[in-house]
């Protein structure tokens, strides 16, 4: 039996109340990637972002080539944008699936879209999930760089800075 198959019971073991989602805790791909990382390889690209006085990490990102200031937010599942910001970036909302989410400021109707290309420094992610708030002025003050982007990279935070690094190539 492959090792990762036997991890299934962990979904139960570690599932928290209110978060009963089945998940795949340690994908074998992860482990292979890490084994590859242990071997000497070409240096990986990385970006270091200092925290501001409130502990937030602001980045200058490029979405489909358009520069945009964003805030790194591990509490957001996806890149999170307002309608006007999305228009500036040339995102076609009509193609997105409509969905409802709850935010700290109340429920919002969103469109789930894919961003072709999101770049921070030399780091590039393609086909990244983004949530665009439909209600005219109810989006975030600045776009939020959420987990759909962050999970593509290794993230290290400490001592007042965040470093994003390319994941090891397999």
């Amino acid at each position: 039996m492959p090792a990762h198959r036997r991890l299934a019971p962990l979904a139960f073991a570690l599932a928290l109340s209110g978060a009963a989602a089945p998940f795949d805790p340690v994908r074998s791909a992860d482990l292979e990637a890490e084994a590859a990382a242990a071997r000497p390889a070409a240096p990986r690209e990385s970006v270091t972002i200092p925290a501001d006085a409130r502990g937030f990490f602001h980045v200058l990102a490029q979405v489909n080539g358009v520069p945009v200031r964003a805030v790194v937010d591990t509490g957001a599942s996806a890149i999170y944008l307002g309608r006007v910001q999305a228009a500036t970036l040339g995102i076609d909302l009509a193609r997105g699936r409509r969905s409802e989410i709850s935010t700290f400021r109340g429920p919002r109707t969103i469109r789930v879209v894919k961003l072709d290309r999101v770049q921070v420094g030399a780091l590039v992610a393609r086909d990244v999930d983004a949530w665009v708030v439909e209600e005219g002025d109810e989006g975030p003050p600045q776009p939020l760089l959420g987990m759909s982007f962050l999970q593509r990279f290794e993230v290290r935070v400490g001592g007042g800075a965040m470093t994003l690094t390319e994941r090891a190539r397999r």
Binding site: A38, T74, R105
Partner: protein, 212 residues
Amino acid sequence: MQTRQATARLILAALALAAAAEAGATSVLLLTAGPGRAQLLVDDSTLRGLRTGERSPEGVALVTATTESATLIVDGRETVLRLGERNDGKVTLFADRDRRFRARVQVNGTPAIGLIDTGAEAVTIGRRLATALGIDYAQGRRAKLNTVVGPVPGFLVTLDSVKIGPIELAAVPAVVADSDAADFGLVLVGTSFLGRVHFEQRGNRLTLIPWK
């Protein structure tokens, strides 16, 4: 003769122990366990399945195991881990289906579910949950909070203790949001906590590391 052999054995054992201590920090995370078996993540990179009495190439041995915990020998030392626990004072979290990291958190000793959130400045809690956690927020200073999703009215308080696994911080700035919308039952573990630890995220795993 027997004494000499015994002494030699003792010296060997001592040397083995010293070597183990030197090699030192082998990290072990207990992923799953059942009677007589356990699945471990060793040094954050290698998956090992052990049966009672077996020893991994890293020198991690399984002594006993139940469905809730395992007794191991790590670096020559007996260590009892419960499911999901590590032996090195760190905490590993796994992403949910929505890609976010939730954690069991204790606020002033009372358990709740937290969300690792670099987009929240203080540890942030809705009114209803704050009441359930016994936080007397009415004593706090009223403020308009500039959150990453926009302004939210609330109360500034200081929590005596916020604890995730073995990582406990004292005097943690927190905010109780004065809005029904914010009552979704999660403690947002924001930068007032995260700024006082280290953390690393790789794929679907996030590890909190205490500040030394």
